[in-house]
C-alpha cells in the first residue's frame, strides 16, 4: 500500500495501514534487541517534537524512536502561555517548518490540531494526542501488545473501562480494535460516556462485574482527579468501588485475560496497587512497545524507498 502521509488519527492508516505498522514493528523489535539498537533508515531526516501540553513520557518515546532510526530530533516544548504572549500556533508551526523538518509530532490540548497544521506545513504530521480526540500511536502500541500476547486481536473481547468521554486513548482504541475485528465493550459511569455513541461499534455494559467475566483484555483508563471536582463522579472512592480493578475484582478475570493501562496510572483509583504486578498485566510492555511502533510509524511515513531487509545497525563510530 501507499504509505500514509500523516498519522493524525487511526483513520489515516485504516485496517491495512495498522496491520502494516504491526508487521513493521516486528522488524523494529528485532532492531531494538540488537547490541546496537540503531539503524540509519532516517539519517538526514528531521523530526520535530512539538508539545503544547506536558507529556514527558510520550515525548521521550517519540524521541527514542526517532533516534534509533538516526533521525535528527528537535524538541519544542511550548507552554500554552507562550501563545498568550502572542505567538500563535500558526506562527510556531511555520517557524519550525521553515527550519526544514520532514515530520512534526504534535501534542495539543485542543481537538483537531494535527489536521489544521497541514494547512501551514508540508511536513508529515504525527498526532501525539489532540484533546479528547485521538492518540493513534498509543493505540498502535496497544494493538501490538495484544497481538504479541494473544496472537491476534480478531475475535477478542476488549473491555474499556473509565472516562471514555474525555479520553483520546479510548476514541483511537475503539476505532483500531474494531477495525482489527475485536468486539469492544465500554464500561463507564453515565456521566463519563460521550452523549451520542449509537454509531460506535461497541457494546455498553453498565456493570463492570458482568463485563469482567467476558474480557480477553481489561483496558483501564486513567481517572483524572478533577472529574470529582466537576461532579462527574461523587467521589473517587465510589468510582473505585464501582469501576476500579480492585484486587478482589481482578480474581473474576479469565485466567488468560490481559490487564492494560495507557499510563500514567492512579494506583488505588482505577487500578489497585498490586494489580499492575499480576502476571497478565502488560502495562510496561505497552510502554516498551510504544517506542517500537513509533519507529514503525516514522519509518512508514519517512522511510519509503529504504529496503527493510537491508537495515543494518550503524557502526559505533557513526553515532
Amino acid at each position: 500500500m501507499t504509505p500514509a502521509k500523516h498519522v493524525r488519527g487511526v483513520e489515516d492508516l485504516g485496517k491495512d495501514g495498522i496491520l502494516e505498522i504491526l508487521e513493521l514493528s516486528n522488524h523494529f523489535l528485532e532492531v531494538s534487541n540488537r547490541r546496537i539498537p540503531k539503524v540509519p533508515a532516517l539519517r538526514g531526516k528531521t523530526v520535530a517534537n512539538l508539545f503544547f501540553e506536558d507529556s514527558t513520557r510520550t515525548r521521550l518515546s517519540f524521541e527514542k524512536a526517532a533516534k534509533r532510526l538516526s533521525a535528527d530530533v528537535m524538541n519544542f516544548s511550548v507552554s500554552s502561555s507562550s501563545v498568550k504572549k502572542g505567538e500563535s500556533l500558526r506562527d510556531t508551526v511555520e517557524t519550525i517548518s521553515a527550519m526544514g523538518v520532514e515530520a512534526i509530532v504534535v501534542r495539543h490540548k485542543s481537538v483537531g490540531v494535527p489536521w489544521i497544521l497541514t494547512q501551514w506545513t508540508d511536513a508529515s504530521i504525527i498526532n501525539a494526542g489532540d484533546g479528547a480526540h485521538e492518540h493513534p500511536t498509543q493505540s498502535l502500541a496497544d494493538c501490538y501488545t495484544i497481538t504479541q500476547q494473544l496472537g491476534s486481536i480478531a475475535g477478542k473481547r476488549i473491555v474499556i473501562v473509565g472516562d471514555i468521554k474525555h479520553s483520546r486513548v479510548a476514541r483511537s482504541n475503539v476505532k483500531a480494535f474494531s477495525a482489527l475485528g475485536a468486539s469492544v465493550a465500554l464500561v463507564a459511569p453515565p456521566t463519563l460516556l460521550p452523549p451520542s455513541i449509537e454509531n460506535w461499534p461497541v457494546d455498553i455494559i453498565p456493570d463492570l462485574d458482568v463485563a469482567i467475566k467476558e474480557a480477553d483484555v481489561m483496558y483501564l483508563l486513567r481517572m483524572q482527579l478533577e472529574r470529582q471536582e466537576e461532579s462527574l463522579v461523587p467521589s473517587l472512592r465510589e468510582y473505585t468501588n464501582l469501576y476500579g480493578l480492585t484486587f478482589d475484582r481482578s480474581k473474576k478475570l479469565q485466567k488468560s485475560a490481559l490487564v492494560m493501562h495507557p499510563g500514567p496510572m492512579n494506583r488505588g483509583v482505577e487500578i489497585s496497587g498490586n494489580v499492575p504486578n499480576l502476571p497478565n498485566a502488560v502495562i510496561t510492555n505497552q510502554v516498551g512497545n510504544g517506542v517500537i511502533v513509533r519507529m514503525a510509524v516514522l519509518y512508514h511515513i519517512l522511510g519509503s524507498g529504504i529496503a527493510l531487509a537491508g537495515l543494518s545497525s550503524e557502526d559505533e563510530d557513526n553515532d
Binding site: V111, I116, G131, P194, S196, E198, W200
Partner: protein
C-alpha cells in the same frame, strides 16, 4: 406633475407585499420613488430585464466592531458588505468597545452614520457592559432613538434582573432582543459529531429551556421580545405557541442554522464555530419548514467578522462568530427554494417592522417612499469567493458554495450604491 427623475429601473418585475407587476420605477432627485409605471424615461437607466425589483433587505443582527476593533471591521467596510448583499438597513449589536450602554456611546455611534453606505440602526445593551449585572440607562438611550435593547450571554444574567429589565422597559416603546444561549463549557452541538470528536457539546435543550423561560417572563411582564439566533425547531414552536397566546414576541434565525450542520465541524474550521452552534440535518430541515410555514419572523445574519489570527486557532480555542451579509440572501434563496415573496417577507418586510423602520424600508413600494430598493437576479448561479468580498474577515462558511440568486443592484435613498454587483462608492 412629473418630478425630475434621476434614475429609472427599467424592464423588471416590481414585487412588494401587495403583489407583483411588470413596471419601471423612477427615482426622483429627492431620492424617493417618483413614479411606478410603464415606459418611464430617465437620465440614468438600470436594466432590470428578467429581474425582480423590490425593497432592500433589513438585517437585525450585525456586528461591525466599530468603535474598538476597527482592524477587524468598520461601519464603512461592514456596510459595503451589507449593500453588496442587498441590505439597505442593518441593526448593529452593541457589543463594541466600549459597549453601547450609555447616552454618550449612542451619540458616538450616531455620529458614525455618515460613514455608512446604508442605513444603520443601533441597539443598546440591556445591561452595563453587557455583563448582566446592572441595568443600562434604558430611558436615556430610548430618548435618543434606541428602540432595541439586547442581551446575549445568559451565563451572567440572573432571572430577577431580566424580569426588572422587562418590567422597566414596558414604560418605553422598546423591543428586548435576547439570545437564548449560555456560553458555558461547550463548543459545538451535543450529539454524534461532538461525541466522535471529543469536543464538549451544547445540548439543544438548553436553548429550548431558556426560550420557554423568556416567553413566560414576557407573559408576566408584558414586555415586547425578539428572540435572536434561534437554532432549535422546538424553541420556534414554543415561540409560536406564545404568539397564539397573545405574547408580543418575534424570532429570527440565521442562514447558517438552516444551511449548515454540525458535520462541518469535522473539518475543524473555526468559521463553523457559532453561538448557538450548528445543529444536525434534522434541525436544519425542520427550521426551513418552519420558515416556510410562517413561524419564523426574520432571517438575520449575526454577521461577526474575525481577524485572521482568531480564525487560525484550534476549534475549541476560537471565539464564536461568522460572517454572512454578502451571502445571506443567496444562501436563503438557494436553501428555501421558495417564491421570492416568502424570502422577502423574512428578510425585508417583517424585519423592517421589528426594527421600527417600516416607514422607510420594506413592505410596500409606492410613490413618495424612499428609494431603498434592490434588483434581484433570481436565477443567477454564482459562487461566493472570500477574496472578492468587501469584508475584512478572511473566511466565510459559504466560500466556494454553489448558490442561486444574486443581488444585482442596490439603491439606498435613491442612490445607486451597488450596480451590477459592484459597489459604486
Amino acid at each position: 406633475m412629473k418630478t425630475m427623475t434621476e434614475v429609472v429601473i427599467k424592464g423588471g418585475t416590481v414585487l412588494d407585499k401587495t403583489g407583483s407587476k411588470k413596471a419601471d420605477i423612477a427615482i426622483g432627485s429627492d431620492g424617493n420613488i417618483a413614479q411606478i409605471g410603464e415606459d418611464i424615461a430617465g437620465k440614468k437607466i438600470i436594466d432590470a430585464t428578467g429581474c425582480i425589483v423590490t425593497s432592500g433587505l433589513i438585517d437585525l443582527n450585525s456586528h461591525f466592531c466599530q468603535p474598538g476593533d476597527e482592524e477587524i471591521e468598520t461601519i464603512s467596510s461592514g456596510t459595503r458588505s451589507a449593500v453588496l448583499g442587498g441590505y439597505t438597513a442593518v441593526m448593529l449589536m452593541p457589543h463594541t468597545s466600549p459597549t453601547i450602554d450609555s447616552a454618550a456611546a449612542v451619540k458616538e455611534m450616531q455620529s458614525l452614520r455618515s460613514e455608512a453606505l446604508c442605513h444603520i440602526e443601533f441597539s443598546g445593551s440591556l445591561t452595563v457592559d453587557g455583563l448582566g449585572e446592572a441595568l443600562s440607562p434604558i430611558g436615556e438611550m430610548a430618548s435618543l432613538g434606541i428602540r432595541f435593547f439586547v442581551h446575549s450571554n445568559f451565563s451572567s444574567l440572573d432571572a430577577s434582573l431580566l424580569r426588572r429589565a422587562m418590567e422597566y422597559g414596558t414604560k418605553f416603546d422598546i423591543t428586548i432582543g435576547l439570545t437564548p444561549f449560555i456560553d458555558g463549557i461547550g463548543h459545538m452541538h451535543e450529539g454524534v459529531v461532538s461525541s466522535d470528536l471529543g469536543i464538549q457539546g451544547i445540548a439543544i435543550e438548553e436553548e429550548e429551556i431558556l426560550a420557554y423561560q423568556f416567553v413566560r417572563m414576557a407573559q408576566l411582564t408584558g414586555a415586547r421580545l425578539h428572540l435572536q439566533q434561534i437554532s432549535s425547531p422546538k424553541a420556534i414552536e414554543i415561540i409560536s405557541a406564545a404568539k397564539a397566546d397573545g405574547v408580543s414576541i418575534t424570532c429570527e434565525v440565521s442562514p447558517h442554522h438552516f444551511a449548515l450542520t454540525d458535520e462541518e465541524v469535522r473539518s475543524y474550521r473555526t468559521v463553523y464555530k457559532v453561538a448557538p452552534p450548528l445543529r444536525t440535518k434534522k434541525e436544519t430541515e425542520e427550521i426551513k419548514e418552519l420558515i416556510l410555514s410562517g413561524q419564523v419572523d426574520a432571517i438575520a445574519t449575526s454577521h461577526s467578522p474575525k481577524p485572521q489570527h482568531l480564525i487560525d486557532l484550534p476549534f475549541e480555542e476560537a471565539p464564536y462568530g461568522t460572517i454572512g451579509l454578502e451571502t445571506a440572501f443567496a444562501v436563503s434563496a438557494t436553501e428555501l427554494n421558495a417564491p421570492l415573496s416568502e424570502i422577502l417577507s423574512v428578510m425585508s418586510w417583517v424585519p423592517a417592522e421589528i426594527a421600527g423602520l417600516e416607514a422607510t424600508h420594506g413592505g410596500v413600494l409606492s410613490e413618495g417612499r424612499p428609494g431603498n430598493l434592490i434588483v434581484v437576479d433570481e436565477n443567477k448561479q454564482w459562487s461566493p469567493s472570500i477574496s472578492e468580498m468587501a469584508i475584512k474577515s478572511m473566511d466565510s462558511p459559504f466560500d466556494g458554495c454553489q448558490l442561486t440568486g444574486k443581488i444585482k443592484d442596490t439603491l439606498v435613498n435613491g442612490n445607486v450604491v451597488v450596480s451590477n454587483g459592484e459597489v459604486q462608492i
